[in-house]
Assembly symmetry: C2
Homo-oligomer: 367 residues x 2
């Protein structure tokens, strides 16, 4: 095999497939990138058996062939090469020679015979949206899933398509994050639970260009993302997702409108008074025209007043500040509406159109 | 006590003294910043008993007094405050109240009675140079000292003043870094060994402004840096520094002139073929007009040719690539001259004026 790339095309492709290379594995073949130029295109593949990525790389095929190369070394090495033409050649023993300007190296490759290609996906159920939107909804919800493996369903996100709506939901037992996206076309109903790890990796390789689109295909066991020259396939999480509609409610006793930046910065300051270990809540006291943020802890007392618009009853309620910070950080609006019922019931941060809904459970406190 | 600061003056001063707050200590008073406004100026002090920093802060004294506050919390908290006036007030029990816009906090302070002020330094032996120069010579040599405590002398740098020259030397048994600075005035001879930790911290707070000067005072046991509104005092390391003049030599069998960037990037690439654990050297082969960088390791083979100008004999010599990389990184010149004798003798990277001299010991290799 003999291939010629520009440095920028090569590094771009390697950075994409690297997202599916496991950091730790007992199967050394999974630590490799498969470089396949047996057809008329050059295809790079990496696959950790949960998540697989395949991308077509621009380059010249001087001689067809394929080889599997250690992903980490290959990626680090080509990054350090001069910005010029890079030649990759292999011999019958899969020894790879890489040349660029005055640099020449030999490294041992593998035949790639035992490499797992991506599973074939039947392209039936499909939706199309912009890469930008997909990245946004992932980043605006993914923080609220659980990192712990003891409830597998909580480590993924629900993707629910109905008509021209995509709803993405993440939850961890203390909070729920929901984002709704309007799609350009109308679709049949689809429900799938996508692993958080997959969403985290794909959000890093989606384009920020608002015009660039992504096709998303669903089967019973897999999700396939197709964009630019890249395919990303992931297993789905099996099971029935939580019935979140029962937990959502539009009733409230108190509604406030507050400047998002002021509220976020105040909670961020208050958070310094809370140590991970003692799990103290911050206490929010809402009265006409003002919201008070208060913490009393071993470190000291914190008090801050923020101007608000209020409808309904006064209320005093405790929260884990982290949950408020996480939700407020991903809201782009200048002001946010917050709906409350009583100190034992969840609060909702949501906009009028319910493009976003953040449910946060309160924490008991001793006044 | 009641003091009023702007946020920027307060954070600047806290960031300076924080450099002398130990990350771990059993004496909680050392984790504090002493805020002393008993006179007509506001003075912040931190002192880990090896290194002490004192800085005068701009601000209004409404009521005189002093207090010691937990440095880490105070620093983090004021950083998160809005960019506005900050009031610090203490009561008779050293409870501190900090107010800024709508935020108000109370934290427990300490009287500061048991706080260790900086030792009084007799200002006799002094040199003056620009803060920029001092920062540069520290950054250009400090990497070559030893991090291990088993030879205390190697954890510091020699500061040697003679006439109008300051020589700064760091070494770790495998290499020596020397920088010479010409001073504007002439001085008597001074020799002092300054702890690496002190130099590392002071290089972070020295100004990058070429006009700003620093006075450096030496006593038998201490060094004092005086600049802007700040004093930094450090203990010196006791003992006689290594006799490095015996190790330096201007004789050579081979002299090359090489493009610094090309050489550095080539070694950086070659370094990927060497694992920390196997301690393989890179092998440099010098012939007329060309320098070859070569590594043979378990990872593979690396070869690169770089054009050079050569005087004298051909030579083949092995090096730890890290030592070459460290030295080349801090040299600003476009080309460097390298002097070699034989594969067992140190090489020297130095400029004609000997503003810098980097000695690097070679490593044995099997050709």
């Amino acid at each position: 095999m003999k291939l010629v790339f520009t440095k920028s095309n090569l590094t771009k492709a390697v950075n994409i497939v690297m997202k599916a290379v496991p950091t730790r594995t007992t199967m050394t073949i999974l630590e490799c990138i498969l470089i396949d130029a047996t057809t008329n295109v050059i295809k790079f593949t990496a696959n950790d058996m949960e998540l697989g990525i395949e991308t077509i790389v621009e380059g010249d095929i001087i001689e067809k062939g394929k080889v599997a190369l250690d992903a980490k070394f290959f990626s680090e090495f080509i990054r350090k090469l001069p910005d010029n033409e890079i030649t990759l050649e292999t011999d019958n023993n899969f020894i790879a020679t890489i040349e660029c300007e005055n640099t020449k190296i030999n490294i041992a490759g593998k035949s790639g015979e035992d490499f797992s290609y991506l599973p074939a996906i039947v392209k039936e159920k499909k939706i199309t949206l912009s890469q930008f939107s997909l990245r946004e909804v992932i980043n605006q919800t993914l923080f609220s899933i659980s990192m712990l493996d003891n409830n597998k369903l909580m480590t993924g996100e629900l993707f629910e398509v109905s008509d021209n709506k995509l709803k993405v939901v993440g939850l961890d037992g203390h909070r729920i994050a929901i984002r709704n996206v309007t799609l350009e076309e109308h679709y049949n109903t689809i429900k799938a639970i996508v692993p958080g790890k997959t969403l985290s990796e794909i959000s890093k390789i989606l384009s920020t260009d608002a015009e660039a689109m992504v096709n998303v295909y669903f089967t019973n066991n897999h999700i396939l993302f197709e964009f630019d020259n890249t395919l990303v396939v992931s297993r789905l999480i099996e099971g029935d997702y939580f019935k979140i509609d029962q937990m959502l409610s539009n009733d409230y006793e108190t509604k406030i409108t507050i400047n998002k930046k002021e509220f976020l910065e105040s909670i961020d300051r208050a958070n310094l008074f809370i140590k991970e270990s003692d799990k103290k809540p911050i206490i929010i006291s809402i009265q006409d025209g003002s919201l008070k943020v208060n913490v009393k802890s071993a470190i000291g007392n914190f008090d801050e007043n923020i101007e608000i618009n209020k409808d309904g009853k006064d209320i005093m309620i405790g929260f884990n500040p982290k949950f408020l910070i996480d939700a407020l950080r991903v809201i782009d609006d200048e002001t946010v509406d917050i709906y409350l019922v009583n100190p034992k019931s969840p609060c909702f941060i949501r906009d009028k159109e319910q493009n976003y809904v953040y449910l946060i459970l309160p924490v008991n406190f001793v006044a």
